[in-house]
Amino acid sequence: MDRSARESLLDRDPDDPVRVLDDDGAVVGTVPDLSDSRLVELYRDLRLARRFDARAVSLQRQGRMGTYPPMAGQEGAQVGSAYALADRDWVFPSYREHAVSHVHGVALADILRYWMGDERGSAHGANVFPVAVPIATQIPHAVGFGWAAALAGDDVVTVAHFGDGATSEGDFHEALNFAGVFDTPTVFCCHNNQWAISVPRERQTASATLAGKASAYGFTGVQVDGMDPLAVYRVVAAAVERARTADGAPRPTLVESLEYRFGAHTTADDPTVYRDEAEVERWRERDPIPRLEAFLRDTGRLDDERVAAVETEVEATVADAVEAAEETRRAPPTAMFDHVYAEAPSELTAQRAALAALYERVGEEGFE
């Protein structure tokens, strides 16, 4: 994208969301320059994310997995934003960006392992930082990581993902301020899914938009239709370009992606207590998956046969991931002592030995 195109895309009123597809999948903006096969892959990854999510919720319901934060409704923003990255870039997720993480290289089985209570799920080796469960705490990490890369002369962009609620935390403001002062190559991807558990966006901040908060830190904030994967791809790609070395003056960008979580905050939450089902239904009409599917069908890139093939592929991929995660042998109890320090102090070694001896003597039943 050339400079003027990028500027017209990013430097607009903060309440003028970028769109490519309308709610029915008809083209209303500039379709990004992605190959036909890449567009179909994007569709497949949306379907994969949707299926993975449903399966994860079901595993939790069956007692096969712990509490899980679903992402249904937000796949378009997750996959679209991840498609805009180079492999060498780094993602700093909160706890809901399963699809971002997967597209950027984390195996689905590792994502399941983490939510099944296994630390090894975070040892995936991809350019994705470990999940941050506290709110907004990962945003300064993205800034520092990108800053260090820039100081080293490395061409690495960092993308922090967080929700609308996170914009109320001090860490959000401190991170954006650092990014603005130090010109870090960072994209702040705010998934405004309208609800921070039970608190609606309007009660989170009196600001008209979240994108507008960027102006306080001296850089651009832009809204995008987060239920439109092509729009998210375009905006994040432009922001990544600007963060990279574009025009010799890398700058951060805040992207406010307007989305909706169709389901609960987590499997421990009951959204019917605090939000109106009619609102959920209104947002379901903007579901990213049928929108992209309609576009791809209308433009001859997808047909019934290809859709059926995608369904089969996605089903098998998720089934394999669940099987791999569940077949993972539980770590031995003493694994909790691994990696606490680079070198364990003697007191820790003694505690480890005590647990090992107890386990050896009393077995699993001694800990029930």
Partner: protein, 332 residues
């Protein structure tokens, strides 16, 4: 609480809710604020229905900002309100930690009593519910270490209501840590009317002559279970529930230890610099000459709380308590 006083069988979390409702009704200055406490009634339902009963000026959903919640509570308290902020899980308190230790804890002393912060900060804490990362920590020692703070951990529904009332009425900031593992573990008859259980007083949950097990919160039940099992082997175990961690009720601890001469201290928090170390020091300082055996600690390990697949190996249980007691009573 014997006799005909009307009571209702409640879980610990229901007793917290009952206590909050009672304090809101008793004193118009009491205000609850936090994340998801109003419309949602709290993620554990500890504030269920309070918005409808007391209105949006007294039961307030805040933006997602713990420093804001604690800091605004300090300001409200200084103006004369009695804020009862909720931090959704104690593991998310840290953005508010600065406000708690740098300001709430020391406004009184710094202003020579002119400015005070009677805030009751409630937070579910501890492990045992297969929760995600950062939802299972026991960091009570952080707060007990801070001069000016009072730290309370109830272990029964009746105590939860009475201690909470004392906390709200306290002139000083109180960190009220609720062991979520036992939020719904059992029920107890809780008096319907308001009452207080005094802060700073431990209680003897089970009397015994041979050894003292000193504990609090969710570890009280495994301690009692161990005591029952030990009774079958002829070991008569006393179980002391601290209830308040700061200030520590040294008198009750020492009295028990002077009787038994042997002790085991139990908590699920990590061992190093934990509350147990303070208990052991208190016994040594006051009752060394009564001591018959080294005091043992049964605690969580000095590791970050493992994710839930290994959680049961981290948390102390009745078996570990029992084995420690056996070592202590057989020491010659």
């Amino acid at each position: 609480m014997s006799g005909a006083a009307p009571a209702t069988s409640l879980t610990l979390v229901q007793a917290v809710r009952d206590g909050l409702a009672g304090e809101l009704a008793r004193d118009d200055d009491v205000v609850i604020l936090g994340e998801d406490v109003a419309a949602n009634g709290g993620v554990f339902r500890a504030t269920d229905g309070l918005l409808d009963e007391f209105g949006p000026d007294r039961v307030v959903d805040t933006p997602l900002a713990e420093s804001g919640i604690v800091g605004a509570s300090v300001g409200m308290a200084a103006y004369g309100l009695r804020p009862v902020p909720e931090i959704q899980f104690s593991g998310f308190l840290y953005p508010g930690f600065d406000q708690l230790v740098s300001h709430a804890a020391r406004l009184r002393t710094r202003s020579r009593g002119a400015v005070t912060a009677p805030v009751t900060l409630r937070a579910p804490y501890g492990g045992g519910i297969r929760a995600p990362e950062h939802h299972s920590e026991s960091k009570e020692a952080f707060y007990a270490h801070e001069p000016g703070l009072t730290v309370v951990v109830p272990s029964t529904p009746r105590d939860a209501k009475g201690l909470l009332a004392s906390a709200v009425r306290s002139p000083d900031p109180v960190v009220f840590l609720e062991p979520k593992r036992i939020y719904r573990a059992f029920r107890e008859d809780v008096p319907d009317e308001a009452y207080t259980v005094p802060i700073g007083e431990a209680t003897v949950r089970r009397e015994g002559a041979d050894v003292s097990v000193i504990t609090y919160g969710a570890m009280t039940q495994p301690a009692l279970d161990a005591a029952e099992a030990l009774a079958d082997d002829g070991v008569d175990t006393e179980v002391v529930d601290l209830r308040t961690l700061a200030p520590l009720d040294r008198e009750t601890l020492v009295a028990s230890f002077e009787k038994t001469g042997r002790a085991v201290v139990v908590h699920e928090a990590p061992r190093t610099a934990g509350v147990g170390a303070e208990v052991v020091a208190a016994l040594q300082e006051a009752a060394l000459l009564y001591q018959e055996a080294p005091v043992e600690r049964v605690t969580g390990y000095d590791v970050p709380v493992p994710l839930y697949a290994l959680e049961q190996f981290y948390l102390p249980n009745a078996l570990r308590v029992r084995e420690a007691v056996e070592r202590v009573v057989s020491y010659r």
